[in-house]
Symmetry: C2
């Protein structure tokens, strides 16, 4: 095996490496449903000579700050809160992307999370850089916009993962504010998947999974009020035994 001939990273006694370290970043794909469309939050890269991809849209994220972040997930939570004001949401690790070429500044690895937040909870940052944070319709803008770094590819993976998990999980429940009705939840499923779902089957499926708790009736602006539900457990989505059909 030729592996033995490779240089071996050496480590002296006191924690300072003698070899080059990759950069470590965290990025967050923030999903929400706005105006009947699945959207993601993007930020504009700062301009400046030393900046990579100046002015381009990118996923919110950045370097891990070892003095502040005690874990990767805490770092992702921090970045989410900085951009949206949302402190609690569904957060799941999507994966990591790392290599020599993805950042012009050098070998870097990014840990990517995706977040699902109800539109009503969002409070975009006010002030100078408000114009540099924006929501993008996943279907309309995303494919024709190319993002900084390898973020286009990461985003595509995130959308794929979300859509595929929606087929067999309760994930969309994290995109809608509580309490919500089953028709509201169904609408979110339909928006994310981009197709309509049968009402009766949907209700049976949701109720059988036993992850909803009845709350108050939702007295909408008109017509028959709907039962309002909350999640029994906000920490995890429920997995259904089958995919949705079609």
């Amino acid at each position: 095996m030729s592996a033995r001939k490779l240089p071996v990273n050496k480590f002296p006694k006191q924690g300072r490496a003698t070899f080059r370290l990759p950069f470590t970043t965290v990025d967050v794909v923030i999903f929400s449903v706005l105006e009947d469309a699945l959207c993601i939050l993007l930020v504009r890269r700062p301009s400046g000579d030393a900046e990579p991809y100046p002015g381009k849209w990118a996923l919110p994220g950045g370097f891990v700050n070892v003095d502040v972040d005690i874990t990767l997930e805490a770092c992702a939570t921090r970045k989410l809160a900085e951009k949206t004001g949302v402190s609690t949401s569904y957060l799941e690790q999507l994966g990591s992307w790392g290599g020599a070429d993805r950042d012009p500044r050098g070998w870097s690895a990014t840990h990517v999370y995706f977040a699902l937040i109800p539109a009503e909870h969002i409070q975009l940052e006010r002030g100078a850089n408000a114009a540099d944070v924006s929501w993008f319709d996943v279907d309309k803008f995303v494919n024709e916009t190319d993002l900084a770094f390898d973020h286009s590819s990461i985003l595509a993976t995130a959308v794929e993962r979300l859509r595929s998990k929606v087929e067999y999980t309760s994930l969309p429940a994290f995109l809608v504010p509580e309490p919500f009705s089953l028709p509201q939840l169904q609408r979110v499923y339909e928006i994310v998947l981009g197709r309509s779902i049968d009402k009766s089957g949907f209700r049976t499926r949701m109720l059988a999974a036993d992850f909803l708790v009845e709350d108050v009736y939702l007295d909408g602006t008109s017509n028959r009020p709907a039962m309002g539900y909350r999640l029994r457990d906000r920490s995890m989505p429920v997995l259904f035994p089958r995919n949705l059909g079609r």
Copy 2:
């Protein structure tokens, strides 16, 4: 928002960071089926004053070598080959674990992959450190052995992920050498899941998924020869529309 008061990582023009970087490592959870049991490969941590967890069992892995590895996945492939001699296998990213406390040498983040390899392909490293690489039965030894770093927790996640994906994917096909018969494949499913599966339903399910290609008949040592199959596409597992029952 208080985030503005946090220190901001600065970047001078020429690619050398002025802030502390986390260590970047890659670890691989290598699964195989040996003697009718689901096993994983562990390596013993080297002894020495400067070494963390000397003598303890750990997942194979180590620092990313920016001069050698061009991507994280390439790094994982390299580490897999170094330990097993296997150069091609199913490799999937499991996730990443990072934080201030997981490595006594400092803030570190590890990118974890899991690999599935057929026992017949394995060629453990010969020589001085052969005793420091060993297979462990997942059910028998893993829960009672505590590993270096946070590897026990990572391993538990890996086993959970593997078992849960086996319920609705063709992943076990990567644990058996081609060509293989349906009874052989079924045996692997049963070993990984730890329960028996109905023969007829299993065959229908596998054949309906259309990921197998007929090869030669397997003339075993005795009894009726079985049809041998190969994978239509070794690059990806197939997803079944339903979980296995029970």
